[in-house]
Structure formats: structure tokens, C-alpha cells
Amino acid sequence: MVNGLTLGCVYAVVALGYTMVYGIVQLINFAHGEVVMIGCMVAFSVIVALAPTGLPPAVIVGAGIAAAVPACMAVGYVIERVAYRPLRAAPRLAPLITAIGVSIVLQHLALLVWSRNIIAFPQIIELRLFHFGTSETSAAISNVQLAIIGTSIAMMAGLVTLVYRTKLGIAMRATSQNPQVAGLMGIDVNRVISATFLIGAGLGAVAGAMVGTYYGVAHYQMGFLLGLKAFSAAVLGGIGNLAGAVLGGILMGLIEALGAGYVGDFTNVCLMDRFLPGFAEVCAASPESSLFGSNYKDVYAFIVLILVLVFRPSGLLGERVGDRA
């Protein structure tokens, strides 16, 4: 449950990046997962470089994040300028294809820089557990998890303030409603769109650094699955809707964490034997095995995505989006 919540916060932050870009330019930024990956990798490099200096761990991780954010913002800005802006008036298929192209290029550039191996983060933060109950077996939350949840909430609050309280936020909302009219009202639409990409990439960078410190590993292909799940989360909550992305992200994290455990138990071969004939032998051979164990945890995100799209395409909190192709 706590794991799910932590994971959910990370998904929510990444999903915010998708949803903001989608809200403004109606484009699925396929390369966003790769931006998160780059953020993770940059943070990793800085942390490795600073680890032997003996600075307090929080400062080191902070420095990693501080380096990852501008790096990702630069990447996000370049992506928008090179691959999306020239195609803003083009049909939908064109920017989707460039987005995939960009994400392949980013992946393999990362491969060149950080090698194709799974790289391990140095364990600089001492893991401390806080128990909810009095016994040793009661649910616990670690300091890293607390930090991730806290940072995520702070960032979400910051983003909401930005969007609803500042001039830039008003400009962003206006552009998402109608770019032409927003332009007529004296808003520099290109600048607003660039700003959106910058903010989205910055959020992605922090998310990447958090994922890295949480799991302790990074890989040049990690962005793909993470991006896909975060996108599913954004769709689940209603794409283009900030609160929806947060809700969707947290739900997605919980579904993944709880689904892997409970669906595995539920489809245990011995349990299946009671309802369907033919499982008795398998049960006798390996009572632990189940039809859909934790190997399938990555599948749940997609199943949720497909179900949402079929039954409620506008998401849980979304307004109705046009269903034209």
C-alpha cells in the first residue's frame, strides 16, 4: 500500500508532464518518458561524482536533482523547437512519428553516454523505517518514501499555484482553450508552449531522480515503460486535467502494487482447482504457482488503459474530448 502510494506519486508527477503538454498542444509527447530517463541518468552522474565527498546525503541528492532539472529542461526545449514546433500545423500523424523518432534518438544517445548496462545508484541515504503500529511486522514507511511523497505533493501544489495564480498560468489556460484567440489577446503562444514543455520536463527530471533513488537502479530503456504507465495514468484521470493526472497516477501506483499481490493469490492454481477441473495436478506439483503472478505486473497498466478507453474515454475527471479520429 505504501509502496503503491510512493510509486503512484512518481507516476502522478510524470503524468502531469504528459497532461500539460496534451492540454496545450493536443499532442502525446512520446519522448517524455525519455526525458524522465535522462533526468534519472544526470542525477545519477552527479550523485556518483559527489558521493565520495562526504557531504550530507540530502545535499548530494539535492544537487543531483538541481543538475537534472536544467538538463531536462534543455532537452525538453530542444525537442519542442526541433521536432514539434515546425509540425504544429501538420496533420496529427506527423508529430506522433517525430515524437517516436526523438525518443529512439534520446534512448540511444543515453546508451552511448551511460552504457547499455543497468547502472546501480550508490546507496547514500540510510534507509530508516517508521512503523505505523507498535510491532515490527506492522506496515512501515521509509524515510525515502516519505521524501518522495513529500516532494511530489510540494511540486503538485507549486504547479497548481502556477497554473491558477500567475500570469503565465492564465496564458497557458488561454492557449489551451484557443491558441488563435489567445494570440490575438497579446499572448506569445510560442513562448507559452515552450514554457509548458520546460515545466513538464523539469517535473520529469525530478521524477526521474526520485525513481532512481527509490529503486536504486537506472537503465537507458527505463523511460519507455515508465512513460507508458504515466500516460495510462493521465488517461485514467482524464487527459488535459491536472487533478485527473494526480488521481490517475496514484490509482495506477496502487493498482500495480496491489494487483501484483492479489491477482496472483486469486489465480493461484490450487484456488483455481476448486472452480475449474484440471488444475489439481499442477496444484500438487507446485502449490505456489499462479496463473497471473507478479510477472504480469506491467500488464495491469495497459489493461487499465484499455478498459478506461473503452468505457470512459474522457477519464475519471475529464471533460468530454472530441471522439473524432
Partner: protein, 363 residues
Amino acid sequence: MGTLDRVRADPRLKWAGVALIAVALLALPFVLAMAGTAWVRITNLAILFVLLSLGLNIVVGFAGLLDLGYIAFYAVGAYVYALLASPHFGLHLPWWAILPIGAAVACTFGVILGAPTLRLRGDYLAIVTLGFGEIIRIFLNNLSEPFNLTNGPKGIATIDPIHVLGVDFSSATRIGDYALTGTMKYYYFLLAVLLVVIVVNLRLQDSRIGRAWEAIREDEMAARSMGIDTVRMKLLAFAMGASFGGVAGGMFSAIQGFISPESFILTESVMVLSMVVLGGMGNIWGVVLGAVLLSFVPEILRYTVEPAQRMLFGRSLIDPEVIRMLLFGLAMVVMMLFRPAGLLPSAVRKRELSTGRDDGDGA
């Protein structure tokens, strides 16, 4: 273009050209064999990719639906062949029975995926197909227990080769004093299949269905108001693309003799998509060109870049595989920016992609 038009106009010259190409294609494996048997093998894989690209072209090029999980259908076809013609289950059905079964199963998967999702906007379809491709791969990887259906990550080995009229395609046959290797036989087999697929595609493009797809791609609402059942037509495109993928997968199984989930990763889907994009979405000859180019250029790079790096720097700095993927990614971006209709654009598609309209496209 002047000469080409003259050749097109004169039927005698046209047939002479066709005959010339036919002779060249028939002689190709012997020429390539001189450079090394590996090249014949690479050519076979290139033809498989042409088949795949033509299948995806139906979905992306004709109907304008972006499918990012196309390799899943290839995987389904390959696994159907492998399960029905290998010692894994002890089944050894003949290839002409399995290939249609593979096509039908892949087609069913296409319908299962398409039915709920094709009502949605195009970009959702892209992401759902992407997820579907991954789901299939995860299942192939994990369906080894409790029942061993796919043998998990270990894959399925010793798959039966194709037999035609008692001739085994996996080993060499002597004709007179000339040896015809198995790879060469597969080349001719694939060439024959390719010819059939191209003819089917050409006929499909100009058929009532093909025109309906084109209408949907151009403007779905207008198409619907003209009485086209858009969901049914899109589903048909999806199913047909899937069956072509299934057939190609079956042949891949037979040629390789071994398959594992490793062969059906997302990268492969992306590769096939870049072939379609590079050549020109919707143009059959363009797609063929794109697939041939993107199959051969990386192989040529493999043989040139590696030694060149060793010569210049004394060691291999950049893995050719990375260069290949960077090339694919860049090709997609650069093509979309500067030549969105592909190397050989289809006339209609070119018009559509350059008008710069924002609405009413099928993507």
C-alpha cells in the same frame, strides 16, 4: 522522369523493363552468394521486412491508423507456426495448413484489439497498440507455467522447415553439378510470396475498400456522411494488416527454425514503422524501397563502420547497433520535417501532408 515516362507509355518497353527486373531478381542470390552466403540470408530477412512493411502500410498508409504494436501480430504468426510444427507439442502440420491458421489467429487478435479501440481518436490508438505489443511479449515470456505453452524466454527450437513437393528447404539440393542452398530456396519462396502480396496490395488499393480507407484517412466525418461504415472499414484494415503480419511471422519461424520473445520487442515495431514512413506511407513501391533500404543500410554499416573505427581510433567506439537505431530515429524525424510524404510519395498522400490542415485527417 522523362525516360521513365516514355518507358511507361510504351507497352513493349514496359514489359522489357519488367522482364529485366525479373531476371535480375532471379539471378540476385547467385550474385550475392559470391559476396558471401550471409548476404543471401540478409536478403531473405529484408524480404520478410518488406512483407511486414506492406502489411503495416495497409493500416498506417491506406487507412491512416498509427499502429505501434504491429510486431505483436508477427509474433502471433510466428508462434502459431512454431507450436504447430515443432517437437514442442509433437505436432508437425504442413506449412500450407499452418500459414492460413497463423493468418487467421493474427487476424482474430487484430479484431480483438481493434474492436474496442478503433472508435477512439488516433493518438489513443497509437498508445493502446503500443501497450498491446508489450502485453503479447510479456505473455509469451511468462506462459511457460503452470502450463508450458510458449516455453518462456527460452523460446521454441527445431521448428520444421518448409517442404514443397518433397523438397526440404533447410538443406542444399544438387541440380546437375550446381548446389542450391537452403537459403537460396527460401529466397525464391519468399520472392513468390512477396509477388502475391504486392499484387494483392495493388488490387486492394484501387478497390472499393481501398478507396473507402483513403476517404477515412482524408476526412473521417466526410467519409461517414458519404455512407461508409467507418468503424467496420477501420477494423477491416486492422484485421488485414494483422493477417499479413501473421503470414510473415510464420515464414520467419520456418526460416529461422528458432524463435523466442526476444525477436518481438518494441524496437522491431518501430523499425517496420520507420520503413513505411521512410518509403512513403500509402505508396506500395515506396514502402518496398523503404524496407529494402533500412534492411540493407545497417548491414552495410555493420561491415564498414566497425573496421573504419578500428582503423581510425584503434578500437570500436560506437556499436553499429546503436548507429542503426540512431539512424532509424533520425530518419523518422528528418523525413517528417522535410519530406513528410516519404522518398516515393503516393500522389494523394503528398497532397494531404503538404496542405498543412490540422483537422480531418485520420491519424
